[in-house]
Amino acid sequence: MPDPVDPRRVSELPLDELVACHECDLLMRKPHLALGEKAQCPRCGYELYAHRYKVVERSLALVIAALLLYVPANFLPIMQLNLLGQASQDTVWSGVLGLFNTGMQGIAVVVFLCSMGIPLLKLLCQLAVLLSIRWNIGRSYGLLIYRIYHHLRDWGMLEVYLMGVLVAIVKLADLAELNLGLGLVCFVSLLLVQVWLEVVMSPHQIWQALSGEDIHAGD
């Protein structure tokens, strides 16, 4: 745990020896972390930052894996329904189209953004940031893109969509014959890779590497 700073001497300390909690504004002396450790705010418990091993390389591998899974996850059928000899398939994309074509354009846009648009944008932002660090080019754009990424973070809702798929399966299972498709497998994998990526890609190290304070922060 980091030590809260003695108020009398705080103005004399240089900024890079301090850290403040983003959620409760408590000012502390910055602890030095070994690999694999993380610092939490002693007052509110917020994770201040973590120090992880080979962040850039591991994240790059995961981003590329996620991007490869993205297309099959969204365009291969998640399930197929057979009713009285007719079959219909569901993909993430066809759900968006279905809403759009029945006059619910507003909801179609929201569903598109939360389940396809923003998750893709997030991955592309992460890829751009990681490449910018790795190849040491365009860091000022990297900073901007990483800021955009942080604004998008909460709005990608793959895990909620997966829960929606489960609810729909249960609702339909009694009514008609239902087959699950390859798209579902890809979708679950995409979700897992993306969650893993968010754990590995420790923001503090990425910011440091991007800003040039410590170019090897992500190694």
């Binding site: 705080v10 504004d25 002693p42 809702m157 609702k171």
Partner: protein, 207 residues
Amino acid sequence: MRAIDAGILICGECHELNRQDPETDEQTCTRCGALVHARRPNSLMRTWALLLTSAILYIPANLLPIMTVNSLGQGSPSTIMAGVIELVQHGMIPIAAVVFIASILVPTFKLVGIALLLFSVQRHQPLSARQRIIMYRFIEFIGRWSMLDIFVIAILVAVVNFGRIASIEANLGAVAFASVVVITMLAAVTFDPRLIWDNTESDDDHE
């Protein structure tokens, strides 16, 4: 001690520390270039505004049908609650519970919870800072799960598509419901959690 008391501002985006510059109103972060504020400007007012908007939309979201099931020429519209009841009648209690929690409990809890947070921050009562931060984290974490019903509708509309035999279409209630979810999420983003710890001198000792 709070960073604001030491004249230090935290960047809201990259969490870099910046010394407060008394001469300018619009200070930007030295690392990422975002605007830095000691506290998000007008956080409480904006959150109140978003909260009221979503509270108004909450009424049509629950009263209007969210989708209509057309089967052999007959259409039966259903509201959120009707969908839950139907699941219970089919004996699918666990899924009914999930839908009930995501679509009814969570939005209601969020509206009440954000109102309580705002009220307690403004009046310095009736919750302790620790209770408030738990409430804030819970609201922030759970908000997205209310989109569940919207996604279910999207999937059902796509898969139950057999022309006259059976089809499903979305209705206006779903629009109102999606708006409630998005606007309450925005309200959680607008609320500045650092306000929770201001004015709580007794909790400031962080034992």
